[in-house]
């Protein structure tokens, strides 16, 4: 774990951190892996992806997620997963992946006449 910590005293903003500097604070962040955060807003609902953050490990990711994403009462449950474990589909393959479904409307159950009682199906 390689964390850069700078010592500050009261009222002391070092020059490299002050406005207009070219110092990249993001460099510190890149030494910690990225985590994807999923929050369940209410019991009974699904966890939804809300964003990502940096953390050294799962325990820290959990606490960061609590502080960053639930401080305005957004959730009752948190999942964290390291971003590298998510396999994403390639946007360039959208054609072969999704378009074949467009003209197959018979895959939707819209050709049945449903009794009134089940109209919310």
């Amino acid at each position: 774990m390689n964390i850069k910590i700078t010592k500050y005293y009261y009222g002391d903003i070092p020059e490299e951190k002050s406005a207009g500097s070219t110092y990249q604070s993001a460099q510190d962040a890149t030494t910690w892996p990225l985590w994807e955060i999923f929050i369940r807003s209410k019991q009974g609902l699904d966890h939804k992806h809300v964003g990502s953050l940096h953390a050294a490990d799962a325990a820290m990711a959990m606490e960061n997620a609590r502080d960053v994403y639930t401080r305005r009462q957004e959730g009752v449950s948190i999942w964290v997963v390291e971003s590298k474990y998510i396999t994403a589909s390639n946007p360039e393959e959208a054609g072969e992946l999704y378009e074949p479904a467009v003209d197959k409307i018979y895959r939707h159950p819209t050709f049945y006449i449903l009794p009134d009682e089940v109209n919310y199906m």
């Binding site: 910590i5 500050y8 005293y9 962040a29 953050l53 940096h54 820290m60 606490e63 960061n64 960053v68």
Partner: protein, 249 residues
């Protein structure tokens, strides 16, 4: 309630209000300067929790004092010698290690103290403490993890934690020496100290740090005798009310 008892209760409530306010102000100094965005948010969150707690105590104190006292007049118009906060919380932020160690040493104490106070004979005091306990439990958890992370981390992080212990340890003894106004508040200071010491020792062991022994302990904060840092904090904290009396948002 007799006048002496009432004065004691007021002073006791003010001492907790001052301690939480000053630590809130110290932690707020990190806003925009945290080592990483997520931790910047975490420490300022804790600052806001403490500020909320201090408001509850100031409001209650103002209610007992009467005489047009308000939470604002108590926070913004009292002088350094009237503040009764612990010396520990007015100490400079130092580096991240020093900030999180100060948070841990205080939060662990505050948790055990409030656990006792939630059964206090004064129902309003008990209710305020009960409400704060959930927040404090999280502060203990968050700061504990950091103590272990840095204590048992790299050679540099350990060095910084050892420095932080050197800087702060002499301000911890005061927590367990009851001030005159604390003596009849139904607090078992021996139990408080024993439980705190056991918790700190267990955590330090996990963090491969050791608890200093035979250190001279500073005191005076509870009586209004402070280190040089409090004056500087109040200068900034009270500036607007002093420069523009009675100004409102």
């Amino acid at each position: 309630m007799g006048i002496i008892m009432e004065n004691r209760l007021t002073n006791f409530i003010l001492s907790i209000a001052d301690t939480t306010l000053i630590l809130a102000q110290r932690n707020a100094e990190w806003c925009g300067h945290g080592p990483i965005l997520e931790q910047d948010i975490a420490i300022t969150n804790i600052s806001l929790d403490l500020l909320g707690q201090s408001r509850n105590f100031y409001q209650y104190a103002a209610q007992i004092i009467g005489n047009n006292a308000t939470e604002d007049s108590l926070a913004y118009l009292r002088t350094e010698r009237e503040f009764k906060n612990l010396l520990l919380v007015e100490q400079p932020n130092g580096d991240w290690g020093q900030t999180i160690l100060r948070q841990y040493l205080f939060s662990q104490y505050q948790y055990l103290l409030f656990e006792q106070l939630q059964n206090n004979a004064d129902e309003q005091l008990a209710a305020i403490c009960t409400k704060a306990l959930k927040e404090i439990k999280y502060h203990v958890r968050w700061s504990s993890e950091w103590v272990v992370r840095l204590g048992d981390g790299t050679a540099e992080s350990k060095e910084r934690m050892l420095n932080a212990i050197d800087e702060l340890w002499s301000y911890t003894g005061e927590m367990f020496i009851p001030a005159e106004y604390e003596k009849e508040m139904g607090i078992d200071f021996n139990a408080l100290q024993n439980n705190w010491s056991a918790k700190v020792k267990a955590l330090f062991t996990e963090a491969t740090l050791s608890v200093p022994e035979n250190i001279y302990m500073q005191s005076g904060g509870k009586q209004g005798i402070h280190t040089e840092h409090l004056g500087l904090i109040l200068t900034e904290l009270q500036y607007v009310q002093r420069a523009y009396p009675n100004s409102q948002w």
